[in-house]
Amino acid sequence: MTWILLHTASRLLPREQRAEWRREWEAEIWHARRSGVPPRIVRRWLLGAIADAACLGLRREVLVRRMNAAAQTPGFCLASLLGVLLVIAIASGGLPASRDVFVPLPYADAGRVATISRAGGSISMRGGIPAEWVRLWSRKSKTLEAISTYGWSYEISAGERVLAASVSPGFFSVLGVSAPAPCAGCVVLSQGFRRRFYSSDREAIGREIPLGNAVYRIAGVLPANFWFLSREIGIWKIGSSLHTSGAGVVVRLRAGVTPGQAERELYTLLQERDFSTWGSLVDVSILQDRVHSPLDSFLLAFSLAIIVAVLASRPRLRNLDVTSLAAWRRGAFFAAKSLLLLLAVLLAGLEFTSACSITMIGGTDLLAEPLSTWLFLIGCMTALTWSIHDHRVRCRECMRRLGLAAHVGCPGSLLLSWAGTELVCISGHGMLHVPEMPSCWLEPERWTALDSSWRELFVQHG
């Protein structure tokens, strides 16, 4: 008991003071027991050890010194990055968009559900597919099993601004989702919307809900895992969404039909009706692939960033000693740090830009667009640049961040002598010489290892 308490309390002290502090307390307790002090009193005295340890260890200057020392450790770096991931997870409410990307779509036989847009991707979907085309395809297509349309807009319901979608009657059956039978003047609620305003499904069904200038009857509530376009959509109006200006189109392909075959057939059908050649190019893409497309964008950005990073670090990679254990440890730390950073970029990109995708440009998947690739590229480059820079200014042995920067030499006489900044490992492992102005890009900073005889000059931080 005494041993546990003293060891636990001593954790409050800087490492170099712990052994002596414990020794003093153990001796005092030994003498107290020897003097015949009752065990109850000794136990009470022991509680004073906590106050004593706190007095020594929680002094402001000690705390600041210990925090500064801790902030330089690789463990702190990794813990901070894990903290960033945690913040992203909390701020986004449990990573819903990321889960949508990684989890299969909640549709029956989701591999056959596809969207049709004018060639050029979702940017063209702002105009949507004309109603005339949809009618033509639903009558004549042999590659499509079912076709449905959708549109979305923000509307006011009971004073609240909600995202509502209008879908054609066969919409949910195209997706293979069980939903109430379509009826005039009916709406279906998402589970999220139902939870916000009604205590149970039973309470919501059959009630009336104002939406815009009309009043609708709630026909049912969708399954909890259902989503399409965005999880923000709270109300689904089942009726006609075939506006003359066009709408989004979702189809179920016949079994065995590839998107390419469907594209060619739909294009041919349009050509037979004398639509313009360029204007009738369509793109059929499997919805599951489109949902996964942010990962493709990220992988592309990641690959580009890695290439740039490797090219930029070539002089340092050339001097890499792959035989030493320290080099492997440093490599593992660099990999872990970079991976956590890139994961943070990916999750932040998925979580905080997906909400804009539906409102900003009207597309269903902004992240699949070049814009998202650029976004990821900038994110990946920034992350890797920071990671490499951070790695450069760490001790080659203990991987703590180097400190005590000192400017050496005269920048005005670079030809005659060396000028730059020297950084030192606070544990005394070595020194990094960073030139003021590298005369050659193949000559990066230089590391000088210090032997153990130098150690006593450096304060060991606890």
Partner: protein, 113 residues
């Protein structure tokens, strides 16, 4: 000039003088009376360990007392662990002198060992 510097220095020292609380003065007086270990100080003063030990650290940090480990050989010969003992520094004696003037009953509270 040297004299002037000394006067200025002593004035500065006076300005920097340590103001002890009654508890700290009592602990200082107890050590001065010959009770050299934390355990002894607690027994004589009746103060709890959570007060005595932190106060000893602060007094040591202020340079009023100094600590030293007793020799391992002596402790080993008596079959007991070595203890850390405290003694007053010359600065501590001066400060205690001023504290005794301020708290006249201090000497009676911690009689000589």
């Amino acid at each position: 000039m040297f004299k002037l510097c000394r006067i200025l220095y002593s004035d500065f020292s006076m300005a920097e003088e340590v103001h002890l609380t009654h508890t700290a003065a009592l602990i200082l007086q107890t050590i001065s009376a010959g009770y050299r270990y934390g355990f002894d100080v607690m027994e004589v003063t009746g103060l709890p360990s959570g007060t005595v030990y932190p106060a000893l650290r602060r007094l040591e940090a202020a340079g009023l007392i100094a600590s030293k480990w007793e020799k391992e050989k002596e402790a080993f010969a008596e079959q007991r662990p070595a203890r850390k003992y405290y003694r007053l520094t010359s600065n501590g004696e001066q400060v205690l002198g001023r504290a005794v003037k301020r708290y006249p009953l201090l000497e009676q509270m911690a009689p000589r060992k």
